[in-house]
Symmetry: C2
Subunit: 498 residues, 2 copies
């Protein structure tokens, strides 16, 4: 047995345990009966503890030491896979098993508490568990160390290498640029009417159309499926087993349709990861930021383009002839691109979306630094909503309880969405150069070139490169907000006829 | 930490891993995309291997040795739980991890092959994997040893303590008694018309009525749910998380209705296991035979009684007014109790059902003894169907491919169904003595006394007693076929007006 084969056995066990935990997590969000919450928390804690154990036990350490010696002689991909495992291994070595168990158990209970809190619109129902989560995350940051800011370890979890100090000026320029565009379109706000989106659309037909569209985009039903859940998500148990969820609102056409296209963007990424990476820590997307660049590429760059709707609008109108009889491709395109400050991140537009992220980034950063407390979240949330977006939630459900992320311990996750937008705009610029007729292909409903390009440049690599390596390889430049600001400014001017 | 607490940690890990594997198994049968078969097989093999490892590793052995010393001083239930773990531990100590991994992987692939074979009605698609399974089971029997017959180890898996030598005379008398009753009713066969069962019943309403009925019986929707699958089953991940599946046939009213009541019988057993047994090897039914006594109690003793339908028939007629307008409680009661040899075990009646079991018992016993080969199954199956039941399958799908059991390696499982019938009849005799008005209560749709009696006498104990201890405690006698033959003879005479 070679040292790589020895490492492979360790990796397979760790990845299979992670996949099993993901199945249990998916089930918890989709089908699990309410009474099972506590038993499921114990099961997930056991799996998480075992996964941690197999990541760091004597055999893992011996396999890592053995493969280190052979790293230079391994083929490129295998070397990368081994390096990714070693990175995870070294990180987990620092985290005590008791800590990992506590985090898993808390996250499972917190997800239930968040659901109940949101249903009652009462932050205090969620507060004790969120306090526990923040406390655990501050411990985690302290254990992992290595950054200048306590938030750095959180960022590094989702976007390896990114620091609070690097992100802050990018977000500052992004906020400034966003506000400038917003100021330009505000006087023209009445030019775009999006009331068509809030007519009554039967739920079963919404789901059916959304499934039809993601199938056309390239999401495979042989290696994936779609279910319903409170908060939409994508999870995968293998590149051959990718699960999407969506939610449907009868009087909001965007929720199911764009939500499912978004999740399908994640899903196609996972379905596209090379089979040779299966059951290794590289059998997944490179980072949350790159992942979001895929979901947002499909949701926004593709499915909020005028070209896309010149193909898709007839399909939608066939499903909803009465509701859409007064609409044209152009009026519908403008409706789905109305840019206006609102309360809800998921339902916000391409322009103001990043302000929602900046709000969460600042909150998380300050929670991690200990300069604000969990109890203050509702008040600070509302204040920031007012300052950044000029709107004010009327209750916690539409305010600080709107997202699932904190309940599963995902502090540091939110910036990924904004990074995804920035990466997606950079990818789109390169794609247009390399596939000159890509807009025409989209207008013809031919998404093969788009998906093939993403497969070739991003998906196939899985997690064998860092986000910075990927974007440098594709665009020849590091992360920048300029491509996105240029893209969204052009779109804003087009939509508002400025 | 006491020795029992130390053992508890080991037991919790083993049981949680088993629960995770069960979630993955349930998902595979209900929702998993086709493309995921191989990845799922690997995941299940990993979980199964880990479960085996934690069952027998140094810590498990040390915990078992420590608790052995304290067994006599433990409270009764804890002593029983520890003894059950020690039994499983000693069994697993004999089975090499490589064997367990191979079995899990083979079973997962075989389930897929069986589905494809059944769809094509082609036994040869399934044959190579069944050959592998039989080969592995013969190895298992040889490794476990201890019995006079190679089949004994298979029986012991599902019905601890039962041997081929004990079972053979019981089944011989059962076969003889069954044939005598069958001979009596055959001339009166035309007296019972069951065509009403094969009218057209919309699937959604079938499912809705079946769910309503099991909810009335006592199956909790807070700690359980119902989905669809190719072959109906019940699985549990905790006493608070019990999953049933059913299948619906538009022109066969029995499939969904009685199938779901059967599975709900299993499910109520699992939901009724004492919470204090959670996450131990006793947090489940005592044996497959006792389990089937619960499912068959509800399906047959309760839901095929005239009293039951005097309550349930109006509910069913409300759902299907046109289909049932020419029916009375009595005519419907006779229809669902028509006793006539047929091809399909699941859809056969209370009387001839056991002949299907005896066929499978003889096949399994001879496969294990090596006196017949897997390749011969279709031919021998058909011959035995002719000899025992006087009918002949026209293809493998309605013949030897009808059951899922062999595909998951469940050789030795089938006899449990017949044992369940025998136990259920014994339980029913005692219940009628202890609850004199039980038939009236059923006729009023009040199932509380029935469920409470089963909870108290059986469910609460979980797997802390052997099947023989349970039936001795309840009935004061060991397993016998006499109660069942008396019960079914009375019913046959009533239904056929003899």
């Amino acid at each position: 047995m070679t040292s790589y084969e020895r490492l492979t056995k360790v990796m397979n066990t760790v990845v299979d345990l992670g996949a099993a935990a993901s199945v249990l997590g998916w089930d918890q969000e989709t089908f699990m009966p309410d009474g099972a919450v506590e038993a499921r928390a114990e099961q997930l804690a056991t799996l998480s503890g075992l996964q941690h154990h197999h990541m760091v036990n004597d055999e893992a350490q011996a396999a890592v030491e053995a493969v280190r010696v052979d790293l230079a002689s391994l083929p490129e991909r295998k070397r990368r896979v081994a390096e990714m495992f070693i990175r995870d291994h070294e990180r987990d070595l620092k985290l005590p098993e008791s800590f990992v168990l506590d985090m898993a158990r808390t996250a499972s209970l917190a997800q239930d508490a968040w659901k109940r809190a949101k249903a009652k619109s009462d932050f205090t129902v969620f507060q004790p568990l969120l306090e526990k989560i923040v406390d655990l995350k501050r411990q985690e940051s302290s254990i992992l160390g290595g950054g200048e800011h306590p938030y750095d370890a959180m960022l590094d979890t989702y976007e390896p290498g990114l620091t609070t100090a690097q992100l802050t000026p990018v977000f500052d320029r992004l906020q400034k640029g966003t506000k400038e565009i917003l100021d330009q379109i505000t006087p023209a706000q009445s030019a775009v009417d999006d009331l068509v989106l809030y007519r009554s659309y039967p739920k079963d037909r919404q789901l059916s159309v959304a499934k039809t569209i993601i199938s056309h985009l390239g999401f495979s039903g042989t290696t994936g499926r779609v279910d319903l859940s409170e908060h939409p998500f994508c999870t995968h148990f293998a590149h051959t087993d990718v699960r999407l969820t969506t939610r449907i609102r009868e009087t909001d056409l965007r929720s199911c349709l764009f939500g499912l296209i978004h999740e399908a963007g994640h899903g196609m990424y996972e379905q596209g990861v090379s089979a040779e990476l299966a059951r290794t820590p590289s059998a997944q997307g490179a980072s949350m930021g790159i992942h979001e660049s895929q979901s947002l590429f499909w949701e926004n760059v593709v499915a909020r383009s005028e070209e896309f709707w010149s193909w898709a609008f007839p399909i939608l109108r066939d499903a909803f002839p009465d509701q859409l009889k007064d609409q044209s491709v152009q009026s519908f395109y403008r409706a789905i691109n109305k840019m206006q400050p609102s309360l809800n991140r998921v339902e916000s537009d391409e322009l103001t979306y990043n302000l929602h992220i900046i709000l969460r980034f600042e909150l998380e950063r300050d929670l991690m630094a200990g300069t604000i407390s969990v109890a203050e979240i509702p008040e600070i949330w509302n204040q920031k909503m007012h300052d950044l977006l000029g709107v004010m939630p009327s209750n916690d459900a539409e305010g600080c309880l709107q997202d699932v992320h904190w309940s599963f311990g995902g502090i540091g996750y939110f910036p990924s969405y904004a990074l995804g937008k920035l990466y997606a705009a950079m990818e789109w610029n390169v794609m247009q150069q390399e596939i000159p007729d890509v807009r025409d292909r989209i207008a013809n409903g031919d998404f093969t070139p788009v998906l093939s390009w993403l497969r070739l440049k991003i998906h196939d690599y899985g997690r064998t490169e860092t986000p910075n390596e990927i974007i440098q390889r594709i665009a020849g430049r590091p992360l920048t907000e300029t491509d996105f600001l240029s893209y969204v400014s052009t779109k804003a001017h087009h939509v508002y006829g400025l």
